[in-house]
């Protein structure tokens, strides 16, 4: 087959460059992309006609074609004239195929830019020649740098509007290089251009005869994106175990970095088990060697336990394995990140059901790179945090390996992707504090007491009747010679938790500590009765997650807010309503009712003693205690 005869088709050397364009609303970013597509003949006649129609309707360029309209995809944003999300564009030349992430420059910038930059090898940062280096330019450059982009084109756009003057260009370039020197870019290439008129985009422009560098397209086609991933240690995150029959057990995945050959020794990072590569299987035949980017299926000489989430590496170059690490965290959700709250994590192919940020060391002002103190992380904020996961994970520093050093955080209830993390280094604390094995366990202690230890967790609004009912339950169990311990919300705040207030972050920590104490009490073989407003579902479930299935019994003391306000036993509601108490649950802080409590007590027209009896009955039914 004579493929060379076909124009535009690549040779074996044709590769792909993925880049991101960054700029503020009026820097001409969309115009630049539209121009690249148009001038590289990627726009067809019907699209041009649609564009001409749209230009009259929505355009901002008078009678000229508005290239920005080519790339502004969704109906809503065409009307508002803004790009609200990340869009991907494609164009081809015989030498390279290009994928451009187009990200908006307005308030959602951090989240969208981080998304676009996460898979980009190069960034084109636009600067309006009339305005020079702005705060936004610095912000975009910082985010690119943080996300690991090492090559930057500084596109000094709208050079036509400053009469193609060399000194304007030189001044901007000087300013940029001065501030970007600490951002760790390997290359910075400034190009004067006019996206609207096409100067220095596809061809060198006669209007800037003082400029001797490459035009944008030439540079994008020729920049050597040396395969950085090839030179790194071998990493193979296992995606899926391929087991079609008893004779074949293969580990399917994509080589994240480095290379491996048949016969090479490997180690499973988390378990430390060793073996050798037996086959590197693909549909197109077995390979002798696989390198970064190859999707293959590896079989090993020995039968060892490997599953999705394991990382194969060379025994001499292992990734870190830890359950605590420091990371930069980019928060992407309306609901702020609160330390202590549990989230689901995905790190490579590893899914971790629960983990949390234990501490925010500082947050970073993206405009000035200043470090600021923070207790929570809001939408589009970037923080440097300590993270703890329920199980140890295998990883590398993001700076070294983007594929094995990144993670996302997921809200466990809505399943939204809420955070993006870049791991900096492991924290060794976890490995230094080993579990001390105890000879007498929970089961033995419980046996002695003739009961099944559990956490009996009363939740509900202030004034709902939690403490009253919990107290009666405690008395009744005591009368039945059961061994209990009651933890009350108000009481622990006098001692254990006296340093905590009522902000969301402090409430999370309050419940975390109480949960741990309740677990210790339970380990002693006791029934831990806990009475806490505990307004957030996430924290109640965190305590549930600390103990085994069936050991956490949620008791929802269900009293409507109107009734609680009417009762107001401690006068707190009237104080909250007059603004004397802030963050009061039900008034100016939320209460998330349990969706499936083990015991549901509706208190209206009921006596506390009767409700307490109901709880005791439920405990007997559950086999926690025996009936007398």
């Amino acid at each position: 087959m004579d493929t060379d005869a076909i124009k535009g088709l690549g040779t074996a050397e044709k590769d792909q460059l993925r880049f991101i364009t960054c700029g503020s609303v009026d820097d001409g970013k969309s115009t630049l992309i539209g121009r690249l597509l148009h001038d590289s003949k990627m726009i067809y006649e019907d699209q041009m006609q649609a564009l001409a129609r749209d230009s009259v309707k929505h355009g901002t360029t008078g009678n000229d074609i508005d290239f920005a309209l080519l790339v502004d995809g969704l109906e809503a944003e065409r009307e508002q004239g803004i790009t609200i999300d990340v869009a991907y564009r494609f164009f081809n030349t015989p030498r390279r195929s290009f994928m451009v992430a187009d990200t908006p420059g307005h308030e959602q910038y951090t989240r969208n830019m981080a998304t676009g930059a996460s898979n980009a090898q190069l960034a084109v940062i636009l600067i309006d020649a009339r305005k020079g280096v702005l705060v936004q330019t610095k912000r975009h450059s910082f985010i690119c740098s943080l996300l690991g982009i090492r090559h930057v084109v500084v596109a000094v756009n709208k050079i036509d509007l400053v009469d193609y003057r060399k000194e304007v260009f030189d001044r901007i370039v000087g300013d940029y290089v001065a501030f970007a020197s600490t951002l760790g870019f390997t290359s910075i290439v400034p190009i004067p251009m006019s996206a609207r008129y096409g100067d220095n985009i596809i061809n060198r422009s006669g209007n800037t005869d003082w400029y001797h560098g490459p035009c944008l397209m030439d540079y994008l086609e020729s920049i050597d994106i040396e395969s950085e991933m090839q030179g790194l240690p071998f990493r193979f995150p296992v995606q899926w175990v391929n087991r079609p029959n008893l004779d074949f057990r293969g580990y399917a995945g994509t080589v994240a970095s480095g290379h491996i050959a048949v016969g090479d020794e490997i180690v499973v990072a988390a378990s430390g088990r060793n073996s050798r590569v037996k086959r590197i299987a693909t549909y197109d035949g077995d390979l002798a060697q696989a390198e970064a980017g190859d999707a293959v299926t590896i079989t090993l000489a020995d039968e060892i336990d490997i599953g999705r989430g394991d990382i194969l590496a060379r025994p001499t170059e292992r990734p870190e394995v830890a359950d605590q690490f420091a990371a930069h965290l980019i928060w992407m959700d309306q609901e702020a990140m609160v330390p202590g709250r549990s989230y689901a994590f995905r790190i490579g192919t590893q899914s971790i059901a629960t983990g949390s940020v234990t501490h925010i060391k500082h947050k970073i002002d993206v405009n000035t790179r200043e470090h600021l103190a923070a207790t929570t992380l809001g939408l589009n904020e970037i923080g440097f945090c300590n993270v703890a996961t329920a199980l140890p994970v295998s990883f590398d520093a993001y700076e070294v390996n983007r594929r094995t050093g990144s993670f996302i955080m997921i809200d466990r209830y809505t399943n939204r992707t809420v955070g993006a993390g870049l791991i900096t280094f492991p924290l060794r604390r976890a490995t230094n504090i080993a579990w001390q094995p105890l000879s007498v366990g929970k089961a033995e202690r419980a046996e002695l007491k003739h009961q099944k230890p559990c956490i009996l967790w009363f939740t509900g609004l202030s004034g709902a009747g939690k403490s009253t009912i919990a107290n009666i339950v405690d008395q009744k169990l005591f009368a039945m010679s059961r061994h209990t311990m009651l933890l009350d919300g108000d009481n622990v705040r006098h001692g254990l938790n006296r340093d905590l207030g009522f902000t969301e972050a402090d409430r999370v920590e309050n419940i975390r500590r109480v949960g741990e104490v309740a677990k210790l009490i339970m380990d002693a073989g006791l029934i831990a009765i806990c009475s806490f407003i505990s307004p957030y579902r996430a924290e109640r479930d965190m305590v549930r997650g600390l103990v085994e299935e069936g050991e956490f019994i949620e008791v929802f003391v269900d009293t409507p807010i109107e009734e609680c306000v009417r009762r107001d036993p401690k006068g707190l509601y009237s104080k909250a309503k007059s603004g004397k108490i802030k963050n009061f649950t039900g008034i100016d802080a939320p209460y998330e009712a349990p969706t499936g409590p083990e015991i549901h007590l509706k208190t209206i027209a009921q006596q506390p003693a009767q409700l307490a009896d109901d709880v005791v009955k439920a405990l007997i039914e559950r086999g926690v205690i025996a009936a007398i």
Binding site: G8, E75, Y88, S97, N242, Y283, G293
Partner: protein
């Protein structure tokens, strides 16, 4: 297993950009199989589906495809497409589910009398939702590409659908690195576009180099057509009502995209090989979707259809 090797290419000579796209698609497919309970591959018989299926065979080799193919049949596909579909399923030994919206058939919905918009809504969008619910699939692969159309350019690779299969473009999950968020709740589903980053040229080049079979309608041959409003419509069977002055003519035509035959515009062409198709593409002046009559129904029509649950 042997049946899957019939089209195995003799050499491995893909250019690097295609190798990268191939590996990326394979990685996405493996993630779906590892994370979802009951995936399905939506197979539309077109060139993109042919490539998607080929990629899937590669992804799970030497195992059999760990999910079935499903074709949502509007009953108005070209006869050659249906023949190709059945032959492909047989050749590769894969499970094929064909779903037809029988309610729509009973109501007599068709592209000619009902109009393309209602036909597409009932026989494609509603039919797809029906089929996904009927079988309880929690993830569905589709062959859509970002370069096809403006609203596709912002689509995620893992496109989350609320219960009812609704797509909310303002409520999409951010997608960073290759870390896809695969978590869903009961009743929610995921559409997965494993070929998001392929272009039309990539698809043809890959078909050529990997020798992937495609429906013969992509190649020029004399076929009976009528011209309507500047569009060439092939008279594939006697269900197409002809105007008194209309007489089918034999013209050498081919299709750039395939769908329901009364809604697919043909182009006059001499391209009888993939090499010639690609060469024609290089000088083409209109985009591939232009031949699709369903996209021009109303402004932003693709976005509207997608919100309602269209692929």
């Amino acid at each position: 297993m042997n049946a899957q090797n019939i089209n195995k290419p003799d050499t491995h000579t893909l250019p690097r950009h295609l190798r990268r796209l191939e590996a990326e698609s394979i990685e996405i497919m493996r993630d779906v199989v590892a994370e979802f309970k009951k995936p399905v591959m939506l197979y539309s018989i077109g060139k993109d589906s042919s490539v998607m299926l080929h990629l899937a065979v590669k992804a799970f080799y030497p195992a059999k495809l760990p999910f079935p193919l499903m074709h949502v049949d509007t009953t108005w596909k070209f006869r050659e497409m249906i023949a190709f579909r059945d032959e492909t399923a047989k050749r590769l030994g894969v499970d094929l589910i064909v779903h037809i919206n029988q309610d729509g058939v009973a109501r007599g919905v068709n592209p000619i009398a009902s109009g393309s918009s209602l036909h597409t809504q009932v026989m494609k969008t509603d039919a797809l939702k029906q089929a996904l619910d009927l079988h309880g699939f929690d993830a569905a692969f589709g062959g859509a590409r970002r370069d096809e159309e403006k609203s596709r350019a912002k689509e995620r690779i893992f496109s989350f659908r609320q219960a009812g299969h609704v797509w909310d473009p303002r409520n999409q999950r951010p997608e960073l690195w290759n870390l896809f968020n695969t978590r869903i709740r009961q009743g929610e589903t995921m559409r997965v576009f494993a070929m998001s980053n392929w272009t039309e040229l990539d698809v043809w080049e890959y078909i050529m180099l990997e020798k992937i079979p495609v429906v013969p309608l992509y190649f020029a041959r004399p076929r009976p057509v009528v011209e309507r409003g500047g569009t060439l419509i092939m008279v594939d069977d006697d269900r197409l009502p002809l105007q008194p002055n209309e007489k089918p003519q034999m013209k050498k035509i081919r299709f750039r995209t395939l769908g329901c035959y009364p809604l697919s515009g043909a182009i006059e062409s001499n391209a009888t090989t993939i090499e010639e198709i690609v060469a024609e593409m290089q000088v083409a002046t209109v985009s591939e979707r232009q031949g699709r009559l369903i996209d021009t129904d109303e402004a932003a029509s693709m976005e509207k259809k997608k919100r309602e649950g269209y692929f």
